[in-house]
Amino acid sequence: MTLLDASLIDWSRGQFALTAFYHWFFVPLTLGLSFIMAITESIYLKTGNEEWKKITKFWMTLFGINFAIGVATGIILEFEFGTNWSKYSWIVGDIFGAPLAVEGIFAFFLESTFIAVMFFGWEKLSKKFHLFSTWMVAFGSNLSALWILVANAWMNYPAGMTFNPDSARNEMLSFSDVALSPFAVNKFLHTITSSYVVAAIFVIGVSSWYLLKNRHVMIAKKSIIVASVFGLLSSLAIIITGDGSAYQVAQKQPMKLAAMEGLYNGQKGAGLIVLGMLNPAKEVSNSEDPYYFKIQIPKMLSFLGYRNGDAFVPGIKDLIYGNEQYGIEPAQKRIERGKISVNALKEYKEAKVAGDTAKMNTALATFKETFPDFGYAYFENLERLVPNVALVFYSFHIMVGLGFYFVLLFLIVLWFSFKEKLQQKKWLLRLALFTIPLGYLASQLGWVVAEVGRQPWAIQDILPVFKATSHLSVGAVQTTFFLFLALFTILLIAEIRILVKQIKNGPKE
């Protein structure tokens, strides 16, 4: 690979990451706030207390701002698929087509139809139908996320498909295998519940600011109770779904798990690191100690990954160089099988042109047998199979640490709320306010772990990122990178300014 190619790949990846980062800035609040609004409106319908209506309308306004500014930012990712990732788009096309089409037809339709009803229908529709619309917006938003996350999960665990050597595309064998793969289910549940936590933190933070300013006190206190309970329940769900995700990663993406823990040498009864610092001099090929220091829970990684505290967890070195004792073959073997697979595809293509059916069948059989290692054919340097360990390790541990901090915050806020002492606890209100950006940080770090951790693969074991990019000039990708940076930064500033203005105005009393 030439230096120019490397630069093109890095800029293409950077551009995609930038777009996804900005897009994901808007999404979690939409997913979570929609349910918080639906809950407060349900309480309004049940109690008939007008204060709950004011609360619902206020959060609905902030939801509207976030939705309006964030809507369609994800479309740019689709533009990038066609331009920067054209080979990848072609190869995965049929897999992505079905889930995204379902999203377009059902989820987006549901969401956009009921959003209008929700905003325009307060005085024109029955209370029950209005509430129904609000719940439909919440379900529609989350359903939209489902299909995109299914597509993303498939890239990590390409189930329910077959590669057609004539069209060079993956074709779906079973929709349910794609949509209901354990990877997809866990990814969806983990992502939406983490988004609920982001929204809960947002509501608590904004309400805390009102309490600090002694404004809209009753509205703020009620909002805090709803958001704390919602956030706490979502956090508990995150712990369960996070455990499910880690289990799936251990089974299907052991390299990602090893990077998450900075585990170079596999261990029986491996511990889970609670706090640690990596040694930057550590590489796969040297014998440096991977950590400057670490505090770990003994046997926990083995238990979480394999449901057995004494299980062997392969490290990066085991996955690269193999470990005969535990039946882990060296990556070099997979590279050799990958080359056989690519060669068989080439032979199949040549035999087809020559009209040699017997040779076609032989080549096809070899190709199908070796296809699970197809993507390894493109690697000569084994170390390129290792993701950026430091980035994955720190992102994972900061995310998990923040997750537990949020649980604690929800509990403390709830405790003082029920004791009627929350407003006196200025330190806690300030802490809650400054936790808003930490919610977003944790959510973004989750994506860093998921996406950087599966490098170098665009599709796990099948297509490396560097084979997925289009042949564009680096200058063209750089230009669009900075265009996006400008456009999305303007949108972000607009969002924050309008949100802050609306928060300062407060709910209509």
């Binding site: 479309i75 066609g82 054209s86």
Partner: protein
Amino acid sequence: MNYLKKILLFYVDGFRHLSTLGKTLWIIIFIKLFIMFFILKLFFFPNELKNNFDNDHERSNYILEQLTKTK
């Protein structure tokens, strides 16, 4: 028909009575969509395979050629 008219009027009335904030958000949405579809998509994001090849057969052949190159 009467039902459809009611739905239409519901939307028309809703848009007619938009608040200042609502109008601002719609302006932002339209500007954003214009930039995305009429500037970015047209001038910066051509579909590489669609533009460079005439049909799916040629596209498949190109992809297969790329996939069978390991160097």
